[in-house]
Symmetry: D2
Subunit: 458 residues, 4 copies
Amino acid sequence: MKKREYHIVINRSRDAQDIWKDVPAPIRGKLIRTFRIKLFQNKDLLARIITSDSKKIYKEAVGEVFNAIEMCEFGQGLSRQLQGLTIPSEKQDHSLKETWHPLGLVGVITAFNFPCAVWSWNHVLSIICGNSVIWKPSPRGINVARKCKELWDQSILEFLTYNKVRHTQGNRFHLQDLLQIIEGDNEEAEWMAEDVRIQLLSATGSTEMGKSLATKVAARLGRGLYELSGNNAIVIAPTANIDLAIKAVVASATATSGQRCTTVRRLLIQTSIYEKVLSRLIEAYKAITIGDPMDNKNMMGPLIDIAAVNKMHEVLSRCRGKGYIIHGGEIKGDCCVTPAIVEVKEQCELVRMETFAPILYTMKYIGLDNAIRMNNIVKQGLTSSIFTDSVQEAEWFASATGSDCGMVNINVGTHGAEIGGAFGGEKETGGGREMGSDSWKQYMRRTTTNINYGNEVI
Amino acid sequence: MKKREYHIVINRSRDAQDIWKDVPAPIRGKLIRTFRIKLFQNKDLLARIITSDSKKIYKEAVGEVFNAIEMCEFGQGLSRQLQGLTIPSEKQDHSLKETWHPLGLVGVITAFNFPCAVWSWNHVLSIICGNSVIWKPSPRGINVARKCKELWDQSILEFLTYNKVRHTQGNRFHLQDLLQIIEGDNEEAEWMAEDVRIQLLSATGSTEMGKSLATKVAARLGRGLYELSGNNAIVIAPTANIDLAIKAVVASATATSGQRCTTVRRLLIQTSIYEKVLSRLIEAYKAITIGDPMDNKNMMGPLIDIAAVNKMHEVLSRCRGKGYIIHGGEIKGDCCVTPAIVEVKEQCELVRMETFAPILYTMKYIGLDNAIRMNNIVKQGLTSSIFTDSVQEAEWFASATGSDCGMVNINVGTHGAEIGGAFGGEKETGGGREMGSDSWKQYMRRTTTNINYGNEVI
Amino acid sequence: MKKREYHIVINRSRDAQDIWKDVPAPIRGKLIRTFRIKLFQNKDLLARIITSDSKKIYKEAVGEVFNAIEMCEFGQGLSRQLQGLTIPSEKQDHSLKETWHPLGLVGVITAFNFPCAVWSWNHVLSIICGNSVIWKPSPRGINVARKCKELWDQSILEFLTYNKVRHTQGNRFHLQDLLQIIEGDNEEAEWMAEDVRIQLLSATGSTEMGKSLATKVAARLGRGLYELSGNNAIVIAPTANIDLAIKAVVASATATSGQRCTTVRRLLIQTSIYEKVLSRLIEAYKAITIGDPMDNKNMMGPLIDIAAVNKMHEVLSRCRGKGYIIHGGEIKGDCCVTPAIVEVKEQCELVRMETFAPILYTMKYIGLDNAIRMNNIVKQGLTSSIFTDSVQEAEWFASATGSDCGMVNINVGTHGAEIGGAFGGEKETGGGREMGSDSWKQYMRRTTTNINYGNEVI
Amino acid sequence: MKKREYHIVINRSRDAQDIWKDVPAPIRGKLIRTFRIKLFQNKDLLARIITSDSKKIYKEAVGEVFNAIEMCEFGQGLSRQLQGLTIPSEKQDHSLKETWHPLGLVGVITAFNFPCAVWSWNHVLSIICGNSVIWKPSPRGINVARKCKELWDQSILEFLTYNKVRHTQGNRFHLQDLLQIIEGDNEEAEWMAEDVRIQLLSATGSTEMGKSLATKVAARLGRGLYELSGNNAIVIAPTANIDLAIKAVVASATATSGQRCTTVRRLLIQTSIYEKVLSRLIEAYKAITIGDPMDNKNMMGPLIDIAAVNKMHEVLSRCRGKGYIIHGGEIKGDCCVTPAIVEVKEQCELVRMETFAPILYTMKYIGLDNAIRMNNIVKQGLTSSIFTDSVQEAEWFASATGSDCGMVNINVGTHGAEIGGAFGGEKETGGGREMGSDSWKQYMRRTTTNINYGNEVI
């Protein structure tokens, strides 16, 4: 995109937001309700485009659309729940309250692996909160973005048929600008990071990219919401339901061919059950079918591109060089690979970095204190799981002295998350939170109002 | 401070926090209760040191100590209220909750004008939340910091007499390291900003400093909480209680000799009452007594240093050059100045920048839409006030289309704030919030926990 | 209904709730989403039945259906927001939280004037919260209830097509029993009040009925939620926007022919504007068209029955006997009456009782303290309004020393309320709250859970 | 007390509350802070009076005073946290909020077993919330009440030395009336229940008493908060830490000689560990020393009176008659008894009723579903515990399909509770909640305020 076009996009975004911020939030919810219906009506087509762009299997693509649909349902409910506090004033004849107001323009940068869902989280919260959205999708998710924009534009027109909006002055197309797409790559992302007119930049991607953008946003004292890399571990304790654990590990390690920020990359198995779990896991991996993502019999599709395959190949070679035992990890052509299990002896630099591919490192631990240290040693802090039936272990792992990740799952795999809870992580994962709980507050500004209704200065 | 000493400070801070994060929050509250008693017992002495360091009048210094005392009372209550949510899970046999855990090390950088209170806000929240604090006060507030540290160390010993703390292993002095002072200036501040071991950097000061530190913190994906410059306006509307308004404007413009981030710098007066308000204000200014800050008859002390006096002088000269009418602003020796009222015609660059001195720019507005635009035109967004008895005006000013500041006061001056409400501002003010409401969340990390207590992967 | 049939209803309700309480709340939300679509599809038909049963004008009936639709939208959002707290424990190695669980069976007793909306508030909250509903509508709203039940049964079948529910064991009709209708009158209401199997009785109606039922519920330590009579006042202050006030008063006094619990019955006008407001009001009343409620040109339909007409007639006669000046109040046949304005000199027993008819008593006040006392003197405490542009007056009226009602409106009439806010009142109005805010908590039970994950008794 | 005197008490309470409701809540907190200091200074004396009145051992009495002290600390913090919500309005140019206001007069009826703590919970919340308190202690706790009143009166005078209160008009004694003692018994309790001037009646005692008072309160549509009988069970599962469980059971069964509402009365032991747990328990019971409650070597004091001894004797006789094996339960003179363990085969009517004495019924269960049914079968619903290290069991027991009690403890005994959590129970326990979470809302009234700041009726 040319810089000149970019400025037009931003200006139109401001115009749209100026109208939108004045619309009562429950009415904003009705727009999201309309958009939800559009998504539902187009769910199969949209899923096909997702598979085409991201190469994830069709079943996962459908799941991604339903995630966006549920996010709309959540958002509509939220439109009446953007609640601040009334607070007892310490002063005679004073009242004190806080109100949450629209923030302005929200820049959303998304990655190839979730070309629809992650945008939808940001978009729904932004729109409900009275903001406009400038979306720069991954170049490899561009067709998904175009389709979403098309459905959005239709939703606006339908919404305006039933709802009056002040200041639209007959121009029904203004509000379509609440969502605009920036087709571009790093350069455009940097424009957004540096642009003081964008109040919040929400970026999903690598830690390297995150640091670069965050520095630019901070230099202008803007707000950032970062969802960056993960290097997630699952702990399997002696009291674990092994059947359950195996199913969850397989899903968390191989969904989207291991290219999720929530993919499990490290498996910490208590020493007494290590051999049993490992052999069960190797067996389970053998049953995984790989190939054309549109073919429903396949459980894994290809990696996103040949560079990803090469990267995986290189990492496995280095593992081999270190003498680690590797199960799987064969290249099958057309960017397809079989998922790999690598038995490691320590968390070397390979284990501690995030390789965006289906490589699962397994290792042993003795006591839970040991497992917690191993879990926390990496720079990332997105998610973590423990499989255990012990109350003591589960509560400790979730406590202040347990896992240092943003998400701590008990008998639940690392991948996936509930709409109602906050999604995001600590340390180099970037600290942002999306979806549930009070994540919406990042998309608004808070006003503390103190009213004196007496006649004295106090 | 030498870099080697700095590293020792940080390491001791980590050791202390490792112990502290495991202490139940309500017990942490008891330490703050003890510290409150120490502050109260030493309030007069501490106030004298504040006056000596900051040159604010003694009465204000006492007020500052009481602010810290009230913050302790608030913090103790908060120690039982660091509440997360239990959330209904969308999955069969699952439970979902979020818990707030200690964050780690909190770096606190404070300015000369509030050498005790602003630190106390950060310190109390940090300690209650299970963190340790590394405090770099302004070099001009160093004696206050030393005294606070002394009272803190006493509090720790007293606290440990009544409360057992796991892992202290007989070393009662470990916990004193929960507060450590960094004596230094910009260089030390930069070390802190760059230090990945400091999870949160909370900095109060100029926007220039804030941008520089924020960039460094972002480059390591750390957390920042910035309370930077303000350029606050008060709107006086036709229905205002003029007596009340005059008193509040005088206090907001001249407290701490105009050297507060919340000082009112711009006065927007509705055109029909402009002359009346201005003459009342000029009259009120004449009654202000200036001089030795320990002398109770004085209402204003000196500026912090000769550089501040020169800066004020320079700005007033440029105003004069622009033909603006100036009331007051005389230099009286010993860094004392009389507060100045400058009648301006437009918000030129002088008006839009923050001069840390008692200069108040007055200007006219016609309709409230006009006043809101004038209020919002500056880069800073800390606080703002309107004096009006009109419901329509008050509510509009506090609404999404009103003031864009973090704080919006109705018939209340800009300076000062209640403990219970969130304190902080938008835009170049930096976006952070301290004190009340849910500001404490910035001092903690959130864990989303999803528990499967059934036998199925869902 | 025979007692034997009643017991069958209760037993089926328990069976249905046993299944339902185990369904995750966000899934429960999907049932309400389905029901919302059914309501929308049948909105015109349902509105016609409402008009037929309650005699309210068709436009109001459509509004009532939309209120139920919006309640469903609110409820669906709420299904992910039934949030309790995680609380910092005071004990080492302990965690503390509260969770909200389904309550059980909810009895809902509704009145003739809102045959659909009030039930929908209770029903939506009950279902979202995991309860079953036993609904005893007014005998004069029975056709509405039957239609709602029919739409409900359809919704259940549709819901089960897309969602699996544990324990339904193939019996898709079980869940239809989540709503059952009790056709009956006072006797059936008493059965419900005395029935220990009904965990919550939510009753809307007269204070006399409320006291009778509440006593029975309390005798078994059951829970009650009462929405009883109102005797609501509007205060018109000198700074009021008179045009706005007149429109709001007319609507609040004459909607549903004055047969709402939120109908304004008392008008307190500041003495200096009394004559002006009164004459404007008399004029406005003259423009009100009355007659067939299905005829869109009519603004008021008939009273519910001849008894209501007689009651109104009797009260007006007694007013006449006291020498009060009466405007309007003529009987037009077919239960139609013109709305009456009665100028009174004091709040005699006639003014203080709730006559369920369009009689508006007007009186003067001097100072706001006086108006507040006049507002609060009645036994009921549902809602109240003030029309003023004064911040001081508005805030005082809404403060702890202002109106003692559950709802306090500023420049808003008494009738109607927002979905998002809590609806209900104090004193003899009964204290219950429906719809928004945290009203849902009355429909759930709270569990405080304290977990020790260490090895010590503390 | 004579009825005439009673009316004077009520009138003085109203006068005091009229002043108090106008005091900002954070200032109200300062009074509770002062009262906390008084309690602390008098803790030993007060504990001795508690022991003298209630016959509980001195160590428990000291614990009770500390509970009141902690309640004051909690209450002071709460004084800045009585927060309502600001809610996004659905209407253009409207704002919506809710505020919590003082309720009025709170009647507090307490029982002999906690003559200080239970009152303190109610009193602290009431005072913080802006109410006055009329306290009718048990006749057997009258000396404790008198002492508390004395400390209260001193606190008022000290508080007024530092804080100005509007409308006190120089009469510093008015505010002492915020607490008044009603010396009396059932008759006085009934006066309070029937008195429309008492907005909230909070009663602790037997279910029989509760039903009687609740009926009277309901007849006037007043508010009630009931904390009535408990019949609490502890479940011991195979994975339990037996050492921990035994210690907790002994404490929960014998503290206050089994005369707590939270006393464990039923022990459900999984069949495979029944014999082991029982023999461990019998052994532990033998080590319990009983006698003079002021003698620190005693772990149990006498029962409250000879009637209690006789009642225990009678119940044990009936148990013997049914062929149950009884361990302990011997009468030692001076109202002292050894605690009894009774092995029962089923939950007969003796087991299902609450005998206020140290009798613990033990029984076996097979699966947890069975234990949950056994736990829930009684009419009371106060508290319940499970000792288990199984996540599945713990979470199920605390879930919607688990225990039906207000409190569910995991590896924690039934007696005692944290200040921060809500205390109270379901079913015939009465449904009220005291202490933590949002229990304070029962002591306030909610005002929903909707402000129109535009010019249209919407």
